[in-house]
């Protein structure tokens, strides 16, 4: 009987504690200001972060997007008026844009694929212990540290038959009929920036994939070896499934970056010859800073943004599926 009573008391006491932490006032006499502050409290706490995000990320984005619906010419002081969807109508009939879109696919696809393949090979090589591995790992990272502008200049010179050795080597190998600059060859010009981009971007894949490789428990390889799996089987049934989420996310990131990445093309070919290396990003750059038509450039950028967002959603979903399986 006594125990039961004690229990009741204990319950009552706990309830009271609960009331107090929930923050409901015992008396209803509370001023309006008090109530407003109480409700605003969580928002006030998050305000600094929200204000930062809005001013730094959202405001410029919205401003940039608004250009797409306005007539903004840098050198025309009377421009700036609202033009509705005019830019998009022009874009719809712009052959240069479609060529740039095709070039973007080619440029991005080839660059990402080659960077990934060489990066993976490099990561697998660096995953095995050998003398001087630490030094090799540091060296592999080096191209990533070279400014892209310099990378572009460097490769442009390497492809230049007057000062660079590459055309002469290609000629000696019989791959060229004369030591010419492939950057001025409409058929092959795109390969110049792609090769430079691959050289520059391999370390990113090599390092991230190496980190993922080293996170795979060694036991699994040993268990598989005992189960009877050879090297290739171990790669396909352990290494690849473990790398899949990392591969998905790195390929996604690189695809978005590279399709937005106009530096090398601007430096090496400026989109030429005859717009053969013009990608959407460099086309935006050309429209904005050569033609100074910010409105039209923003419209193209908006379309590119929508395309990349759609693509990102796809990869994020794919990654989720892979993560759930792993």
């Amino acid at each position: 009987m006594v125990d039961w009573k004690d229990g009741q008391l204990e319950r009552k006491r706990q309830l009271k504690v609960f009331d107090a932490t929930a923050g409901f006032p015992e008396s209803r006499r509370q001023s309006l200001v008090d109530r407003i502050t109480r409700h605003a409290e969580p928002y006030l706490y998050t305000a600094p972060a929200l204000i930062l995000i809005v001013t730094i990320m959202l405001a410029p984005l919205v401003l940039g997007l608004s250009y797409a619906f306005r007539d903004v010419h840098l050198l025309n002081p009377f421009s700036g008026g609202y033009v509705g969807l005019d830019h998009f109508r022009t874009l719809y009939d712009d052959d240069n844009f479609y060529r740039a879109l095709r070039n973007t696919l080619w440029w991005t696809g080839a660059s990402v694929f080659l960077q990934f393949v060489f990066g993976l090979i490099l990561a697998l090589l660096l995953d095995r212990p050998f003398a001087g591995r630490a030094v090799a790992q540091a060296l592999v990272f080096l191209p990533w540290a070279v400014p892209t502008f310099l990378t572009g200049l460097n490769w442009a010179w390497l492809f230049n038959p007057v000062i660079g050795p590459l055309p002469h080597w290609l000629y000696a190998l019989g791959l060229m009929s004369e030591p010419a600059n492939i950057l001025s060859n409409p058929q092959f010009a795109m390969w110049g920036p792609i090769i430079a981009n691959v050289w520059w971007g391999i370390p990113f894949f090599a390092i991230t994939l190496l980190a993922a490789l080293q996170a795979i428990p060694r036991d699994l390889y040993e268990a598989a070896a005992i189960d009877g799996a050879g090297a290739i089987r171990r790669f396909t049934s352990i290494t690849l499934p473990f790398l899949a989420p990392t591969i998905a996310i790195t390929v996604l990131l690189r695809t978005v970056w590279i399709s937005n990445f106009a530096d090398l093309i601007i430096v090496m070919t400026s989109g030429g010859p005859a717009d053969r290396t013009q990608i959407v990003a460099s086309y935006i750059f050309t429209q904005a800073f050569r033609a100074l038509d910010f409105g039209y450039a923003s419209a193209i950028a908006l379309v590119l943004l929508v395309l990349l967002l759609a693509y990102s959603m796809l990869i994020v979903m794919l990654r989720q599926v892979l993560m759930d399986r792993a």
Binding site: D219, L220, A223, I226, G230, I238
Partner: protein, 366 residues
Amino acid sequence: MASIDIRNVRKNFGIVSVLHGVDLSIKNGEFVVLVGPSGCGKSTLLRMIAGLEEVTEGEIRIDGKRVNERAPKDRDIAMVFQSYALYPHMNVAENMSYGLRIRKAAREKITAAVSNAARKLELQPLLARRPKALSGGQRQRVAMGRAIVRQPKAFLFDEPLSNLDARLREQMRAEIKKLHRDLGATSIYVTHDQIEAMTLADRIVAMHEGVVQQVGSPLELYDRPANLFVAGFIGSPAMNFLSARYEVSGETAGARLPDGTLIALSSAYQLEEGAAVTLGIRPEHVEMSPASEGSLRATVDLIEPTGFGIILHLGLHGLPFNVFTLDRAALTAGPTVTVAFPPQHLHLFDETGKRALESSLQKGKG
């Protein structure tokens, strides 16, 4: 099933030598436990049998055939890892059938083997789950299932129970023993837990610093430890050691403690008169008795009831000394107690730590 022969096997990692010539022959169907503290080389030896480490010197034979140069997959053995090493992206059934699928076994044969193993290990309801959706004990079972579906020549266990909590460990220990009884497969089991070694093994191989210290049945190691290391390692709480001098006087042999007490021995030993010896006695063999000849007074430092019995931590001339007793009266033991050593339970080790040999001349009787 197979016999395994290990002949003078050595292992060096660079200039560090971790196994200094191990000889061991394991009979068909035997359950052998390699036991020792961490760093004694037991896991290395197991991994060499599995083919995961190269043999620096010596020879390993499975079923009479030299396997030193064979890849793990060609040795037809199965291994259960401490971490279980389950393939996280495969479900339980796929994990268990992986080895058979690689070997391109017939589909019906795979299904039969998996469901057979699943029944033995009570895994049927879990076959479609991935390892991350399993508890530790269930993962352990899947790892065992993966080993048994292939019906290999031998099972190798590398501390398979170390990641489980105490209760589950006991349970799985019994299951492993049952499984061995049912399958009768040659098994080598590595552990640092002497209880696991005692309960599971047909034969225990006690190792220390890369050298086999003693090979024998669990009770042989318990009753007649070959040296101080085995004596101290097997048994819990651990054996007590006292330094003494060997003495023979007329018909009786004894060990003289530094304080002058003469402890009677049950037989004579092949030792010089006055040789320095170490006297060993297990805590459960010490008798608490009224003072008599050859008994010692000890101070009580600590009393640990285990429920089943009581462990008394004593101080004997300032040295720690443990007694295990079932007598609950010990719970109220005073500041000092009197202990006596039954001669038949005494172990005598010579100066080098080896078990002293009883003398063929039965000079004395304790």
